[in-house]
Amino acid sequence: MGTDYIVEKLKDQFKTGILEVIEKNRKRIVITISPASLPDISSYLYKDAGFRFIIASAIHTKRGFEIHYHFSLDSAGLILNLHVILDRNNPEVESLSNMFNASNWIEREMHELFGINFLNHPNQDKLISEGNWAEGVYPYRKEFKSISEEKE
């Protein structure tokens, strides 16, 4: 399954969900999608096209909260980033953990560090700061200042 085929197939099957496709080269594609279409497109990639979920990266930007879901098609050396932009005030998106376990921990981590809510996640408990971090303080958001930064 080649890069072109995947892109064409996605465009064809998920017309309304796909907002933008940036093909940097044959091995790196970023597809911006609407958050609502994330479960369906992920399901297609994982179950039908044979992609492996690598990890997801959350970013706090001026546009709100953005997540890049990194998928890898190892047979083609392709990394496909599914890029979603979430609302600044109420960041939430459907969890992928019910589809594959690989996203379980990273979604917990993003919930903990960025305060993004993952709907229908099996267990959104804190992953890395259990018991030693205040509730509702999200250290990876841009407004968060560490002690050394506050002193400056």
């Binding site: 990890i55 990266s57 392709l78 990394i79 980033n81 690989a102 804190k126």
Partner: protein, 401 residues
């Protein structure tokens, strides 16, 4: 509901980056469930990286892991070079691959030693670590450091490998190869190791895909993924080598994959050295003016599997966002599949089976009853339990002869 005993392994259990705690819920000798607790020593490297310049980040990510300290700079370099559209020179590529493969050899030797220790084969432990020393000496000769080599930077490497050093590298490699033969023979032909490791901690192909496991953990279950082959970087497309896989998915298969991979690594280094001799006097660094705006997905095959770095640049001199995924992050999660149903003695080696960077062999572990809180076992006894099991098998084998 039946009474379950809670067996914690940790929390001073430095797997990969941080001290971690495994809670094994046992019914008699059998592990029924496993839980993972971490965050005791979260260093927030991703956040810290945003306050450093690209040059400084190399030193930072090198300190994520002491054992595979070159795999993170490797992946980070790949990510940043992807943003900037830089292609290092062939000479730099060869040097990068040599460092990467030497690291794989010493990391796999370390694992073989520790696995031997857990099974009660302290001779294997001492051999493996003894043969690992010359590899570290090589690092000292090439880079000036036995660990945390500080070799990488955007656009190339910091130090060259001169012709006179190539001779010394060849000599030590030949030595390492004969010792690897010795170790491989000792492990693969030993009936006790066969009965201790075969069929233990099996991870199926489906589990690997479900959890997204990588590296030898995936390859031992018949999933032939290796970033060096699938998404070639550095000098890997320039040399000839093959991906080692096994089908069984048990701890023995994982050991087999690692041992055989060392031969591939040695072969890759030999070919890279030839390449270095051909590419004489080449530059080792491409001049980089600035890193433009954009995103980069960099990955590298660490001894434990795929390391993934996502870098977002806003055109300034430091990353706007830097996401790091170490291979153990996905591999440790597979314990939920591989450990459940095993005995406690086998769980010890299954936990070690994915090579989760055991820095400290003498761990603090106390076994206590969930209900009474009574102490039952300490760390020493836990390892002894595993060692005793090997001895029992040895006795049985002797009797049956």
């Amino acid at each position: 509901m039946s009474r379950k005993t809670l067996i914690p392994i940790g929390p001073y259990h430095p797997l990969q980056e941080e001290p971690e705690l495994f809670k094994l819920y046992c019914d008699g000798e059998i592990v029924r469930d496993i839980q993972w607790v971490t965050g005791y020593n979260h260093r927030s490297i991703e956040k810290l990286s945003e306050s450093k310049t690209y040059e400084q980040v190399f030193f930072l990510v090198e300190r994520i892991c002491g054992i595979c300290s070159t795999s993170h700079p490797f992946a980070f370099a790949n990510a940043v070079e992807e943003i900037a559209g830089i292609e290092p020179t062939d000479r730099a590529k060869y040097i990068r691959s040599i460092i990467g493969e030497l690291e794989r050899i010493h990391s796999h030797l370390l694992w073989v030693g520790l696995a031997g220790h857990f099974l009660g084969y302290n001779t294997v432990f001492m051999w493996a670590w003894k043969y690992r020393e010359p590899v570290l000496d090589l690092f000292e000769m090439i880079t000036g450091n036995r660990n945390s080599y500080a070799m990488f930077r955007v656009g190339g490497v910091r130090r060259d490998i001169e012709t006179d050093k190539i001779v010394a590298i060849r000599k030590i490699l030949t030595d390492v190869k004969t010792k690897t033969d010795l170790l491989t023979g000792a492990v693969m032909d030993d009936p006790v190791i066969h009965s201790r490791l075969k069929g233990v901690g099996i991870l199926t192909k489906q589990d690997v895909l479900d959890y997204g496991a990588v590296g030898p953990t995936a390859r031992a279950s018949g999933v032939a993924i290796d970033v060096r082959k699938d998404d070639p970087y550095a000098a890997y497309p320039l040399v000839d080598w093959k991906v080692i896989t096994a089908q069984e998915g048990d701890v023995f298969a994982k050991a087999e994959v690692r041992l055989l991979e060392m031969y591939e690594s040695i072969s890759i280094i030999e070919q890279c050295l030839k390449g270095l001799e051909k590419e004489k006097e080449g530059d080792i660094l491409v001049k980089v003016n600035e890193i433009p705006e954009g995103i980069g997905n960099g990955r590298a095959e660490a001894p434990r599997g795929e390391v993934f770095h996502f870098v977002m640049s806003d055109g300034s001199n430091s990353p706007a966002r830097h996401k790091i995924r170490a291979p153990s992050y996905v591999n440790i999660a597979t314990f939920k599949k591989s450990c459940v149903g095993q005995t406690i003695a086998d769980a010890t080696i299954t936990l070690a089976g994915v090579d989760p960077c055991y820095c400290c062999t003498e761990r603090m572990a106390v076994v206590y009853d969930v209900h009474s809180g009574e102490k039952i076992m300490n760390a020493r006894e836990l390892i002894d339990k595993s060692i005793r099991r090997s001895q029992d098998i040895m006795e049985e084998l002797k009797k049956s002869k």
